[in-house]
């Protein structure tokens, strides 16, 4: 998202405009009012006496509300106006905009105010890929409303525009004529409502958009922050980053229609405001000590949508957890497979991992009992449907070759999985971290089977399978000459031998033999992987290494936060503190909001982290990274009904207190002091 665009949102309804509040979208230009993956306004332009306006300032009041201060004219050097124009906009069923014009003159003024409105009803995927529309448009004026409509067969979407002050409405907009007295003001409220159309009729009032009042949303945000643990520290930067993370996490909450009023973390704002299996699970794991209800809703919603059939178009199997769900026209007409799409190989074992971790923190065995069927089906998927090569490892190969995903792991770009010499392996591919997740899922599944489902036989079987998987994995994936784990096994079961950050996820999963951990950590913290800010996705020196390559050299804060967790798991406290220090220092450069990824340049060379240009900010799992790093720095670990605190903090943080950490223990406080030298 470029800096001069302004965005506000609530759930998956959002507005992106220029700094004047205007929207002038083209098919490929990502501005507009969007809801449920459809653009409902592509043009929204304000003029006063035929003149466009100039922005003096923009106030982001909240993530769902903003205010534009404008003056008429587009003078480039000096603006001298007797008029001020204020647009205050908040997301609602679409959005509402209070338009206020102030006359600062001693004389009255006669004005013609015009709002141009239009919609292309583009699907979000069309905005990204510039596709043509197949339906028909209809615009009508009736009962003081401008209705923009798009229909294709039974599929229909409409935008209804109205004003509190009567306007002259034509098919391209609304016109107001008024006289404003000396030092007087004029005001109207504009309402833009996004709604589905059923059988030619607007589904207004019973549509899919839930409305929360502006006051309700503000109170909700306050409560959200109040309910989270309080952080006190000598480090102002850490306090600011923590607060930014909580507010951004609030903005990223998404209530799918099946979840009632409860919310889960969507993947990223604004283009990925929907359920993603992987992103929602990772973010829920990161946020567990802070906002455990996100995990509960994620588990519920992903459980509801768990695959039950074999569907090649959607890459669905029984037991598989979804990858991405979309509501737009292309999904509806099955031109894209997102209803939902299941093509990922990690969310299914991670579903079990999250369920167990959630129980460890919350003690909520009721949810574990409710999701017994789904958890068993997920565990079954690992061996029955994901073992594509019959070698006992999770592999992936898409069955939807037109619109499915090639790489079904978190590094999902086309060139992310390569040999050291840069060649790309064939399919199926068994990336290493998937085996770690499968191992962890079996270990944790065994615990839940014994503790909650009272199935000793399953517990014993899973324990045995986990031990066997660990033994084979440490043999088959270990790159003997170098002392790290290969990125993947290729379609022939041979090693894809590049050095990558995936080794850190293996530590997190627990699949690494203790005897191999020191060597793995030496690589993670070594010159080729550790940049000084964090761990590069691909090591320097590999053929495809590029410090600004999406998954082949950049540093991902989310990745680093799980690596830090892995380092703690194997007792490497100081190394975990070094990674935390690097990522949190980087966060300070980004105003507390970590990007999805930043450049893999050495810290000693650039002195500041170089942002990777991505469309989405904030990104959920980047937002969650500081939260997980707080956990790893304080060494928070639930053991029975207690929370163990074992701090190892970078010296620069000084004193750190995290107060009222919720869990099965009620609320406890954790204290630490920076003693680890990270320089």
């Amino acid at each position: 998202m470029s800096d001069d665009l302004v965005q506000i949102l609530d759930g998956n309804t959002f507005v992106v405009s220029d700094d004047r509040g205007d929207i002038e979208a083209s098919l490929t230009d990502p501005t507009g009012l969007f809801s449920f993956d459809t653009r409902f306004l592509s043009r929204w332009v304000l003029t006063v006496n035929g003149q466009r306006l100039t922005a003096l300032s923009t106030d982001d009041l909240q993530y769902f509300e903003t205010r534009f201060f404008l003056v008429p004219g587009t003078g480039t050097v000096y603006v001298d106006s007797k008029l001020s124009v204020i647009r205050q906009r908040a997301v609602a069923e679409g959005f509402s905009e209070n338009l206020t014009i102030l006359n600062h003159d001693e004389k009255p003024v006669d004005l013609t105010v015009r709002i141009e409105a239009a919609s292309d009803f583009a699907d979000l995927f069309e905005v990204k890929d510039a596709l043509e529309k197949k339906g028909t448009y209809k615009t009508s004026v009736r009962d003081g409303e401008l209705v923009l409509k798009y229909e294709r067969a039974a599929f229909g979407r409409a935008t209804v525009i109205s004003s509190s002050v009567p306007a002259r409405i034509d098919k391209t907009g609304l016109t107001f004529k008024m006289r404003i007295e000396p030092h007087g003001e004029w005001e109207t409220r504009l309402d833009v409502v996004a709604t589905p159309v059923h059988g030619g009729k607007l589904a207004k009032g019973r549509g899919y958009v839930r409305v929360r009042s502006r006051v309700g949303m503000a109170a909700n945000l306050d409560r959200w922050i109040d309910d989270a643990p309080r952080l006190e520290s000598d480090s102002d930067s850490l306090k600011a980053t923590y607060r930014r993370s909580l507010v951004d996490l609030a903005a990223l909450r998404f209530s799918p229609p099946i979840a009632g009023n409860r919310s889960l973390p969507a993947a990223g704002l604004p283009w990925f405001m929907t359920m993603f299996g992987r992103d929602s699970i990772f973010t829920s794991l990161q946020a567990l000590p802070f906002t455990p209800e996100l995990a509960a809703t994620t588990l519920h919603a992903l459980g509801e949508w768990q695959g039950t059939r074999v569907d090649d178009f959607r890459d669905e199997d029984p037991g598989r957890i979804l990858h991405e769900l979309r509501y737009g026209e292309l999904a509806a007409f099955e031109e894209r497979p997102h209803t939902p799409y299941y093509g990922n190989a990690d969310a299914t074992p991670l579903f079990v991992v999250l369920l167990d971790e959630y129980e460890l923190w919350s003690g909520d065995r009721k949810l574990v009992r409710e999701l017994e069927y789904e958890a068993r089906a997920a565990l079954n998927w690992i061996d029955e449907y994901a073992n594509l090569q019959g070698n006992g490892y999770i592999s992936y190969k898409r069955r939807n070759e037109e619109t499915g995903l090639e790489n079904q792991c978190w590094k999902d770009s086309w060139d992310s999985i390569s040999y050291r010499d840069g060649r790309l392996p064939g399919f199926p591919r068994a990336t290493c971290e998937l085996q770690g997740y499968a191992y962890d899922a079996k270990v944790r599944g065994a615990r839940l089977a014994r503790l909650v489902w009272k199935d000793e036989e399953l517990a014993q079987r899973l324990t045995k399978e986990a031990a066997d998987l660990k033994r084979r994995f440490n043999r088959d994936f270990w790159v003997e000459d170098e002392g790290y784990f290969a990125l993947a096994l290729d379609e022939n079961g041979e090693q894809v031998d590049t050095l990558t950050s995936n080794n850190g996820h293996l530590l997190w999963s627990g699949i690494v033999d203790k005897s191999k951990a020191t060597s793995v950590v030496r690589h993670l913290m070594g010159r080729r992987l550790f940049s000084g800010w964090g761990v590069r996705t691909l090591a320097e020196g590999e053929a495809r290494y590029n410090p600004i390559g999406y998954h082949v050299g950049t540093v991902w804060p989310f990745d680093c936060s799980f690596i830090a967790w892995g380092l703690r798991r194997y007792g490497f406290k100081e190394e975990a503190a070094r990674i935390a220090a690097g990522i949190l220092d980087a966060a300070e450069f980004f105003g507390g909001r970590l990007p999805e990824a930043f450049g893999g340049y050495a810290r000693s060379v650039t002195r500041y982290p170089v942002q990777y240009p991505t469309a989405c900010s904030p990104q959920a799992w980047s937002t969650g990274a500081p939260l997980l790093l707080l956990r790893t720095m304080l060494g928070l670990e639930p053991i029975g009904n207690h929370l163990v605190v074992d701090p190892a903090l970078p010296r620069g943080i000084g004193r750190l207190e995290l107060l009222d950490i919720p869990g099965r223990w009620g609320w406890v406080d954790a204290f630490g002091r920076g003693r680890v030298d990270v320089a």
């Binding site: 067969a153 090649d312 178009f313 509501y327 099955e334």
Partner: protein
Amino acid sequence: MGAATSEFFEGLSKRDHEPLLETTTGTVRVDLTKNGKVERWLLAIDKGHVDVSHRRAKADCTIHASTALFDRIARGEENAFAAALRGEVIIEGDSKLLVRLQRLLPSPPRGNRR
């Protein structure tokens, strides 16, 4: 009346216990329209047990579709959720129950391509 639809619903009522509906309690009414006539199915789901009838009653979730479309859904040839997004299946009430019901539907033919 759609043959596949009848087979699907009657199959549900014959199952002693459906594990996929273990945690579900609620009523679903399916109103299917053919030549202006409405055929009603009422599913009363109680923790895995499904009682199927043609009773006329209010339900937690009502699904409206054409008989022909629902027959394709019951054969696994059409995806119920995509049809709902297209406006060919209209849902009133708790949409979660549609998602639950969809989990019981058969797989589409292999190699289905759009």
